[in-house]
Symmetry: C2
Subunit: 460 residues, 2 copies
């Protein structure tokens, strides 16, 4: 599979002018600026090819993590039968349901989550206790008739979510599953290098006994979190019941809470028998038929990308006001390309020959790039543009490594390698560039000689 994507063949039309509106936020502005998404109708977006690369990378990470829990991927329908939603009592309660009729007058909703669908399915299976625990998940479009969609991909009407459902034989085993999945969520967010808060939350209309939300600190977050300043544990302020204050769950702690604003990216619910009893979802136990104990676990994929970019891009430029930040910083491993090769203008004195380029492309391609993501090195081959002009665009995309290829004094290399995350630039051989592209997290840039940005010559 091809290692390279050529920028001249990529759909990417940055929005030069961004209309400031009530729903503008940093991530939305950056995505539009970089030509990654566009709005179709309020809260409904087109995800462009470069954004799809990001989403597919996140999807692969999530799938690997869910597989490691023994979870299996399936696909539940978008069209939800009114009958099952009425049975669970959520047809009229869940206020944000999109509803529609088919030509025969049968009514459906566009399912925002799938507790009814999955419980009704699993209930029909006549499972044995030996089949448990059973974890089933999907990654699919979800729908919510938001009164006020805003903040781009953060609060949409149509979005992509991973939802998982667990089925256990008893409350203790269900709690074990709940903790395993919660831990996997924590690991996932750590792997993405995102700061997150796991907080006690209100189960809300989905129901259940225990619920935790995963939040990323965000100035546009819609939740207020109370976080213990010593141990980091906390809860969603919506749990506060008037004068009653919820204390830190860790009794050895100072109980000093700080209130911060967060955007929810994941939630875990211990549902108990809320749905399994409605749908008569049982299993054959040693003592006869028993009701299944359930959990459900959501992760908003499009929202996670947006909130992650919102946080990281602001954090990378602490001295700039939001309006002046123009470069994206992606969660670890989610940049649309792992590296970018920028070519000097063909007419420049120090432009490389076609043979030199071919030889370098050959060396770079001979690496262990993840085969699931073909074309993972971007080549900025736009003709007639100066190096400086190209770099502005590539930096804006937030690709972590940028290699500038030009001949120097009649010889090939060393080249300039820009480490976008650390804000440094080095002289590097093509083999060092390959190492950087291959293992972005493990690459030790300290071994490379520093590059002197003022005169663009190697100093080390």
């Amino acid at each position: 599979m091809a290692t390279y994507s050529f920028l001249t063949r990529c759909l990417r039309k940055p929005t030069a002018v961004f209309r400031t509106s009530h729903d503008a936020c940093l991530s939305h502005r950056l995505f539009c600026y970089a030509g990654l998404i566009s709005q179709s109708s309020p809260g409904v977006f087109v995800l462009w090819p470069m954004f799809m690369r990001v989403l597919n990378k996140l999807g692969a990470i999530v799938q690997t993590k869910m597989s490691s829990l023994g979870a299996q991927m399936l696909l539940l329908p978008t069209l939800g039968d009114e009958r099952i939603w009425t049975k669970s009592g959520r047809w009229n309660d869940a206020g944000q349901l999109f509803k529609l009729y088919d030509r025969n007058g049968k009514q459906y909703c566009l399912q925002p989550t799938h507790e009814e669908e999955i419980t009704s399915l699993v209930g029909s299976l006549e499972l044995s206790y030996k089949d448990l625990p059973l974890l089933l998940y999907q990654i699919s479009n979800k729908f919510r008739d938001e009164l006020r969609p805003r903040y781009g991909l953060i609060r949409c009407r149509e979005f992509i979510m991973k939802d998982m459902y667990s089925f256990d034989k008893c409350p203790n085993s269900a709690l074990d599953t709940y903790h395993s999945v919660s831990d996997a969520y924590s690991e996932l967010l750590s792997d993405l290098r995102l700061p997150y808060h796991k907080v006690l939350a209100c189960a809300g209309p989905i129901g259940g006994h225990l619920s935790h939300e995963y939040h990323i600190p965000s100035s546009v977050g819609e939740d207020i979190l109370c976080i213990c300043q010593r141990c980091g544990k906390g809860y969603n302020a919506e749990l506060e019941d008037g004068a009653e204050r919820i204390v830190c769950t860790d009794s050895s702690c100072s109980h000093e809470f700080q209130k911060i604003r967060g955007s929810e990216v994941g939630h875990c619910f211990l549902l108990g028998r809320r749905y399994s009893s409605c749908f008569d979802a049982n299993y054959h136990g040693l003592d006869g038929k028993q009701t299944l104990e359930m959990g459900c676990y959501g992760l908003g994929l499009t929202r996670l990308v947006a909130v992650g970019v919102e946080y990281l891009s602001a954090a990378a430029f602490p001295d700039l006001p939001n309006e002046q930040i123009s470069e994206i910083r992606w969660p670890q491993g989610l940049a649309p390309y792992r590296g970018c090769v920028v070519l000097q203008k063909e007419t420049a004195k120090n432009a490389m020959t076609a043979e030199e380029l071919n030889s370098i492309f050959g060396i770079l391609a001979d690496a262990n790039y993840d085969l699931r993501f073909p074309g993972d090195i971007l080549v900025d081959d736009r003709p007639g543009l100066s190096l400086g002009r190209k770099l502005v665009d590539i930096r804006r995309l937030g690709i972590p490594w940028i290699a500038i290829l030009k001949s120097s004094a009649g010889s090939v290399g060393p080249f300039e390698l820009i480490d976008l995350h650390r804000g440094r630039s080095h002289a590097a051989t093509v083999h060092e560039i390959r190492s950087a592209f291959e293992q972005p997290t493990l690459f030790d840039s300290s071994v490379l000689p520093e590059w002197d940005m003022s005169n663009r010559k190697a100093t080390g």
Copy 2:
């Protein structure tokens, strides 16, 4: 990533009794029998984990093929704005649109195809002639309010389709693109080892100048095709205009047409300016603004799997009436697992020890299995079941290679390797099993000694 899936951990509940109904057909019955899908409401299905493996494999093949054409994947929304559908004139014409209102009274449809959405997007990009041809595609849920959904995944209300749209600068270049994509479709169907007919078709409500459909011969097909018996070219009978007979397009041919029944799996339309003129979708050419020339290209993924299985499973058992066929035959490369290892009952005399199994699993795993599909070897580890009982289930799933692992006369191997497609059984070492699993299409089973099915001993 894990090479093995263990059957005891897979969701798979075969339907023992299948209700015969008007919408029953071979593929639907086989999918239900094998525990691969289930119905949620008429024409709306849950795709179970094993079916998702099939669909993901087909998706990967399609993506690779589309990338090789230079096409880029994006994701267009399901919720289609009434405004753009009215603009193209299809809001009231496309009879099978699901329509709905949001809470603010704004009306949407669930988009069955995306000509309006993509043309409106591309029109906003101010493309240059240098950006053309541009090919954009997605793989996503599509919706059609079928009056009579039937034949399981063959005619659904909610289904998965790949739709691609091409944008060219002139009619000639658009025709070139049309031919490239048509050729890619032909290759794809050949790669899947499916017999197909590419026929001239009526453009229908989507519009356009030229249209070809891809059909697979099918007894439940809803189209009648007229196929030239000599050159294989043909057309959809819906093109016949009363007494006028359409002649074979190849003038050197005998013009002897045979009428056969087919199920459509793909279509190509040369749209011209049908949509680009509605949406003012232009590009900057050398002579100023020009209107884009479009094509669109659909491939029904869930339908392709179903129609493929419908054809191949019947073809594999020509002497059996449809009702008695119980084994699935998948299109090449789409079986949910590339191979299956069946373990002897643990209590059997010739059961293998845990050490022997571990050593064999180690050798099998050390192969070049496609990393995009973890768990691609199934292990039938169900305890307490006889070998014969297990084999019935695994054969029903249609996994192309089945290896039976048991100790023979105190030594390890040779094992029995069943080649399901050729209906043969051989004695094979673990390394030969690995070769078979690794490259199912290239493996030459003729080099293996034949196995004598009557006494299950190697004869060659």
